[in-house]
């Protein structure tokens, strides 16, 4: 109880010195940069469909592969983390963020060897996305089966 009173008193002072975080600006930057990534993705799909006559789903797959490759290469060359710091969620939410998290983890632990380093740490950040991606796809699959009869 004494400690609680102390903390309340302290928090009152500390709150006065909380630095301003420009969330609206950050959201705007992420919206624009994320939008540009989406636009480039769509552009690639259109190009693949038109010029090399891929089906739309194949074109989408190829576009994702290219984005993963570029993000991983950029991480390896050491400039992608600076872009992410600048454009924030605009690059984290698309597949580029996923690739970035895997490559950066793998790079960080490469000195601990292939098994104990890269193997066991590569999914350090991306593991969460995969686990809950699978869990939610199972859940929505079940819903779809129960409601729509699997159609």
């Amino acid at each position: 109880m004494v400690i609680n009173m102390k903390s309340t008193k302290y928090n009152k002072v500390a709150d006065r010195h909380k630095p301003f975080e420009n969330r609206i600006y950050n959201a705007f930057v992420a919206f624009i940069s994320g939008g540009v990534v989406g636009f480039l993705g769509e552009l690639l799909i259109e190009v693949f469909c038109k010029w090399i006559q891929l089906s739309r789903s194949d074109a989408g797959m190829l576009m994702i592969l290219i984005f993963i490759f570029l993000a991983s290469l950029g991480t390896g060359l050491g400039f992608f983390d600076k872009l992410v710091t600048k454009f924030k969620c605009g690059l984290i939410i698309p597949i580029t963020g996923f690739a970035h998290s895997m490559t950066s983890s793998a790079m960080d632990y490469r000195k601990e060897g292939l098994v104990y380093g890269i193997g066991s740490n590569m999914f350090k950040l991306a593991g969460t996305v995969i686990v809950y991606g699978i869990v939610s796809s199972w859940f929505f699959g079940l819903l779809r089966y129960l409601i729509g009869g699997g159609a």
Binding site: N11, V13, P19, N26, T85, S104
Partner: protein, 329 residues
């Protein structure tokens, strides 16, 4: 608890730092600086060990001592099992104590060494601390190449190693007294706002130090905290004024002094890490004391006592602050 010393002197110091600290305003005070973060080593952990070895070599060279003259080395850093100190200090061959007080390790080492010298058990001791931005990021936060956005309140772990050689032979600076910190819990839990987490420990230790010694705040020419950053500094000033009616006009923070916060935007609120306070005090502040520009300094190193594991288990981040009073002898 406040301990008084009358025969503990700072004989020599040595500082080695990385590229970000080199760009800061205190560059000319450091003994050795590097332009990259690997220092010719192949991993971040080994790079930090190299820094420790460099600083130890430097202090032996500057003081004219050989390894066999050193009675004790006290080392501290942020890595798990304080490995940078353990591996880095192994070549000296003297007795070794590894300490962990997070970023307060610098003053913790000074207090332990001072007590042993005052007690007459040893003649001299080297107090070493180190930290490395990348090895800390890897251990406490995200992989180093991961560009996680950080809020403005976040601090930046300094890269470097710093040593102080204490002895019972009279020199220009003496360690006059020390107040040991208590573990303080003000129910803070934001790892991206360490200034806010650690400011309560400064308030606790500072108020107890003044009470124990019966001194006025202006007894000291300068009061320095370790690594609160610019917002933590404001909190301490504001809180001391509001609750203790103490005007801290002679107060600054090493995390703010180590970098140029206006041009070095990447450090956000300021520097942190055990070496942050040591880099500033063992170079710039020792110089000021040696040239008698200032006479008395209260050096308060702050540390956040937590691990990512317990943070994820919803525990608060506790903090501690050890203070040591440095005087012109």
């Amino acid at each position: 608890m406040t301990l008084y010393f009358d025969k503990v002197y700072v004989e020599e110091s040595a500082t080695v730092c990385g590229p970000y600290e080199k760009k800061g305003p205190l560059k000319k005070y450091f003994d050795k600086t590097y332009d990259d973060l690997y220092f010719g080593e192949e991993s971040w952990e080994k790079a930090e060990i190299k820094l420790v070895k460099d600083a130890l070599t430097m202090i032996l060279k500057k003081s004219g001592y050989v390894k066999e003259d050193i009675d004790l080395v006290i080392g501290g850093d942020l890595l798990n099992q304080i490995t940078a100190s353990c591996y880095g200090c192994s070549e000296v061959g003297s007795s070794f104590i590894g300490v962990y007080g997070a970023c307060s390790s610098s003053v913790l080492g000074l207090i332990i060494a001072s007590s042993m010298i005052q007690g007459g058990f040893i003649d001299n001791a080297i107090c070493m601390v180190s930290s490395h931005n990348m090895s800390s990021e890897k251990q406490f936060r995200y992989p180093t190449e991961y560009g996680a956005p950080r809020p403005n309140s976040a601090t930046f772990t300094s890269t470097g190693a710093a040593c102080s050689l204490l002895s019972n032979e009279k020199s220009k600076i003496r360690i006059e007294c020390a107040t040991l910190g208590r573990i303080v819990d003000y129910e803070q839990n934001d790892p991206n706002d360490m200034g806010r987490v650690m400011a309560p420990s400064v308030i606790d230790t500072l108020s107890r130090h003044l009470e124990d010694t019966g001194r006025d705040i202006h007894y000291y020419d300068m009061i320095l905290t370790g690594d609160l950053g610019r917002y933590g500094l404001d909190i301490v000033k504001d809180y001391m004024k509001e609750n203790y009616s103490i005007d801290l006009d002679n107060y600054n923070d090493c995390g703010v002094m180590l970098y140029d916060l206006d041009t070095q935007k990447e450090v956000k609120a300021g520097g942190s890490g055990p070496v942050c306070s040591a880099l500033v005090v063992y170079s710039y502040i020792y110089d000021l004391l040696k040239s008698k520009k200032i006479k008395r300094v209260l050096f308060m190193a702050t540390g956040a006592l937590f691990s990512p594991t317990l943070l994820y288990q919803k525990e608060n981040i506790n903090s501690i602050c050890h203070a040591v009073s440095l005087e012109v002898a």
